[in-house]
Subunit: 255 residues, 3 copies
């Protein structure tokens, strides 16, 4: 499958485009993740904005190149902002859904299901969240089916990441266990999917690229970190300094 073999180079190329074009990524994200997410986007070369105020968000989304909808700390103001943002985004602004903790709260699961029907270009989540949303455990087959049914791309992160659309599925074996010891790492990965969607029309490429880039950056950072605190700073450093040679050398894309 040549598409898979190309992914490391495609990822490096997408990162180069982000750095050149500096896309604006508007993020509706949870209060815990806002700062780290903004710094991850800046480290990649994108320009974050974060307002959720109902009278401002349409202006921000209309001027954005991608949109992140993250369901963490989902209060009434964020719900309202999400409605306006998705309506404003329409077909022009690609958006990615991160259904954080959808396995912990029934109202949130219902809201997430309604959002999936609004056609996000990609959904980034973990195994528990996928199970809650799709009604069964994650597997390459289950991801492909869910992606096909909802006309989207699923990017599942965990010990190994999987990215699927209706016809393509790939496993990414990058990353480091310290990534699960820093809050908002998954949220930041979703924002990075948004940055990649801003410069790459193929949402499967964009989602895989984001997970490859953050995974490779995580491995580079883990080699220099003394624990989760220095790792959180180090992954920003690594993403900021990532070059094509490192991406191609370290990306572990498997069938």
């Amino acid at each position: 499958m040549p598409a898979r073999r190309d992914l490391p180079l495609v990822s490096a190329d997408i990162l180069a485009r982000i750095r050149a074009r500096r896309p604006r990524v508007h993020c509706i994200t949870n209060a815990v993740a806002q700062n780290f997410t903004a710094n991850m986007l800046l480290a990649a070369g994108a320009v974050p904005s974060m307002t959720i105020a109902s009278d401002e968000i349409a202006d921000f989304v209309a001027r954005a190149d991608a949109l992140l909808v993250n369901l963490g700390t989902l209060d009434p103001e964020r719900r309202g902002a999400i409605e306006i943002a998705i309506a404003t985004a329409g077909e022009r602004v690609p958006w990615v859904l991160d259904p954080v903790f959808v396995d912990r709260s029934a109202p949130r699961a219902g809201f997430a299901a309604a959002l999936v029907a609004r056609r996000p270009r990609a959904i980034r989540l973990n195994g528990a969240e996928f199970s809650a949303l799709a009604g069964g455990p994650a597997s390459p087959h289950a991801l492909t089916r869910y992606a096909a049914e909802n006309a989207t791309v699923v990017g599942l992160t965990g010990d190994r990441d999987m990215v699927a659309d209706a016809t393509r599925v790939v496993t990414i074996a990058n990353g480091d266990p310290l990534m699960s010891k820093v809050t908002a790492m998954g949220c930041a990965a979703s924002a990075l999917v948004g940055a990649c969607l801003a410069v790459e029309a193929d949402a499967w490429n964009a989602t895989a690229a984001a997970l490859i880039l953050i995974g490779v950056a995580g491995e580079a950072a883990a080699g220099r970190a003394q624990g989760p605190g220095t790792f959180a700073a180090g992954i920003l450093d690594a993403l900021h300094g990532l070059d094509q040679a490192t991406i191609v050398e370290r990306a572990r894309v498997e069938s």
Copy 2:
């Protein structure tokens, strides 16, 4: 008093239990502290969640092993969330109160007093906050009396920490001045009390353990830090890597 002499080993044992059981700690905490608090809990081995949305918080607290109620940036949504969370916690989920800046705002002081009557297992605060709440300066005797009157444990942090219940009081002489130069350090300490309460039924042990662990981690981090920025990262590294030998060797528990 053998209980006091045991505290370093008890603290190491509580940390081992957190790492083994990965308790869920739901945090209602201020916007400034959310990220650092989540990272501190992850560094200890616990699993944080942070929503304050009124239609979700009962689901989160019902599935949690401990609850943190922190009064910083106390807006109407947080007040409402606190009511639901405490009612949901009932007797099953232990909770810790952090009455941040209760000395600066009369409405907050009144709200905090009402919460103390709801029986938190522990209260973590500083000297100014204790004075505002208890109506007089902090001393071993004042702490013991306040703890007895309110059937709780008081964990007071400062140059030296004190932990008291109705019959036991101990001084902990760990920590470093850089801890006061990182925002949300006290808030994170309170969250760590929550993590300890999740795995230790004796709330006095749990509160003392949390303050010993963060104090010892702070000393280890200070030795490698170049200022408050690297210190904030370093204390997460240190807590993540803390072993029994270091805890027992460095804990300074005094009468």
Copy 3:
């Protein structure tokens, strides 16, 4: 112009006063910036508070030595808080306005213009924000005129910073490109203006000092950083450790 030549020494003196007096700076600021802003103020020696709750903010501002009004993530609660805070501040508590992203949202631009009429002692912004607010591109002449018309001080940050009041204008050539790769760096600079206003009656001196201090700290941090993650920690370390000799040696104040 002797005033300009004095600025490095004046800046060092203002920092010494912040460390000695530990002024309280109440910050109404955006959710992304709260943590980093609080840590920047602590690193400088000031004491931050951050509540935006409408029934508490008057108590906090009444006990504060300076106020920051930052328009990021401007929701209805923050708008309400700003009204109360400015009314409480009156003439006694100096305040600084940071009209974040005023170029991206028409309602925000209108709100910002109304706030300028309330006489902030200083306004800290970037070039795009100045253009949106003043109706034309930034230049020494445009800044001076805007400052005169509005009886305030304008602190404009960018590749080179400019600080102007009705009669004085100065260029500061400190800083490092990594400063634009860390979210909330400008917001934190505005908070530092607040801390300087708390101890220095001449708002032009205070604003210039804040930008010199953060710029010199940024250069020191850049020399040791491996990217934006370690830089964010390093600038806090550098500000915390800044001494008079370094400030005087490194400050690049130009006409």
